[in-house]
Amino acid sequence: MSRAARTYALPRLSLRFLPVWRRNFLVWRKLTIPSILGNLADPLLYMLGFGYGLGALLPEMQGISYIAFIAAGTVCSSTMMTASFEAMYSSFSRMHVQRTWDAILNTPIDLDDVVIAEVVWAASKATLSGMAVLLVATLLGLTQSWLALGLVPLVMVLGLTFASLGLIMTALSPSYDFFMYYFTLALTPMMLLCGVFFPIEQLPDALQAAAQALPLTHAVALARPLMNDTMPSAWLLHSVVLTLYCLAGFYLAMVLTRRRLLK
């Protein structure tokens, strides 16, 4: 097989990634409290602060209370942020700073397995974070029916998507500073444009069109009705867009990581 063929080959999926996932889990278990605090306190503060503070001035938004509106957005945005942080800063540490991947690659585990482990691990943390926000929202009476369980697979796919996108940045990054570009040019715009805090219909046409191209928009468009006992309109379209982002992102992360490390 030529070098190009190896780089662009489809990812080889197997369960060999599990020991690497377990390694990351073991590290996380030692740092559970600060880690959970970081992944949970931040989104909850936004949700409660804006939800109750701003919500007091806004009687309703799209037929629901403002805090219920923002709760659905927060489940998605906290998933996005947790996956992104893990797949960038933490994966970069393991790949480049601590050389953990080098140690692993000297064993029967290969780079495809490591990339899969990193994506699944970041998605696992992100799922935990999204589910924790959903749980708090449910305890506050902000979910209306069992339909809200639809958020479980949604958050998982969203976690895999942003883990993959983050890992693309990691594969391209010369240093930690590089991630600021992605935060400023991708994650912050998504936080603000994708319907987390207000309906995208409020935006000018051009920004609305841009928002439609972003993955977080489609996740929020699914999550909000599901939490409020409504089947999302165009659910198939939203699901397909998210899945495509997820698959394309994962493939690209794999190709770019191979290109960086298998020279």
């Binding site: 097989m1 070098r3 190896r6 020991p19 690497v20 377990r22 390694r23 073991l26 590290v27 030692k30 740092l31 601590q98 050389r99 953990t100 080098d102 140690a103 692993i104 690659l105 000297n106 064993t107 029967p108 585990i109 290969d110 298998l262 020279k263």
Partner: protein, 295 residues
């Protein structure tokens, strides 16, 4: 094996064969192609041409199975800083598909070998450089490999720590393991290696047992001369008294079969100082790879 990066052929036709149970050394200046050779051997990168077999397993076709039988001590420490000594071994053993029970059964022996029996629960950042190296060596043994690759295993260690590592490596060879070692410490290679090859510009320029290489390439006696005016001295006297002189920095290296006339000439001089010794592997290395600095 051949491997090209862009215009430069980093490994330009390297042919190596290890014998079971020996310690083999690969020597070469920085940039000679040692690291790329190791990466090729481990199946971490694919050669442009050639074939590689480890313990009878085709590395290109089945790198995973080959690595299952091999241990690696990398040049840069990459122990898991968040884990204890014991956890490092357990987690690493899992990468080989070993069950926790199997790994835990091996840990006392591995810690004993590494001289870390009392440090099982210690955090990595509390260990000295020498302890970390020994733990890395123990980690490379977690799968009970037949062949162990060591990439500059004693770089950055103090002399005591280095001697301890050498002792452990000799013990491994005595236990029947095969070692593949890269180093640029010539005394290390001379002490440990049964055979070695010198790599330069991606090619093997010499191979053999350390003593045989010295006998083959270098006059047996060396006199190192240094002091003010040593260059002028070499021109006027050195070249006639020795068979060969090499000037490097502040020192002139004189190579000869009989150093007596040279020593008799130097002894009464107070402007120059000298050191008379047997030729060693470093002399061979310098002769084969040149004295200019490699970056």
């Amino acid at each position: 094996m051949r491997k090209r990066y862009g215009e430069s052929e980093v490994v330009a036709g390297v042919d190596l064969q290890l014998r079971s149970g020996e310690c083999f050394g690969l020597l070469g200046p920085n940039g000679a192609g040692k690291t790329t050779t190791l990466r090729l051997c481990l199946g971490l990168t694919a050669p442009d041409a050639g074939s590689i077999r480890l313990i009878g397993i085709d590395v290109i076709a089945d790198p995973r199975q080959a690595r299952a039988r091999v241990g690696v001590v990398p040049q840069m420490d990459n122990l898991d800083p968040d884990f204890t000594v014991e956890e490092n071994l357990v987690v690493y053993g899992r990468y080989f598909g070993l069950a926790d029970r199997e790994i835990r059964a091996r840990i006392p022996e591995l810690l004993e070998f590494a001289g870390l029996a009392t440090r099982a629960q210690a955090r990595i950042n509390t260990l000295s450089g020498g302890m970390k190296r020994r733990l890395t060596l123990a980690r490379a043994l977690v799968n009970d490999p037949d062949l162990i690759f060591l990439d500059e295993p004693t770089t950055g260690l103090d002399p005591q720590a280095r001697h301890l590592i050498w002792g452990r490596l000799k013990q491994l060879v005595a236990d029947g393991k095969t070692l593949f070692l890269t180093t640029h410490f010539m005394d290390e290679a001379e002490r440990l290696c049964d055979r070695l090859s010198v790599l330069d510009h991606g090619r093997i320029v010499a191979s053999g047992a350390p003593r045989a290489l010295i006998a083959q390439h270098i006059e047996p006696q060396v006199v190192e001369v240094y002091g003010d005016g040593v260059a002028a001295w070499a021109e006027r006297h050195g070249r006639s008294l020795a068979e060969r002189c090499e000037h490097s920095g502040e020192t002139v290296f004189c190579y000869t079969h009989d150093a007596a006339p040279l020593v008799a000439h130097l002894e009464p001089r107070h402007d120059l100082r000298y050191l008379h010794r047997h030729a060693n592997l470093e002399d061979v290395f310098m002769k084969l790879t040149g004295r200019e600095l490699r970056d």
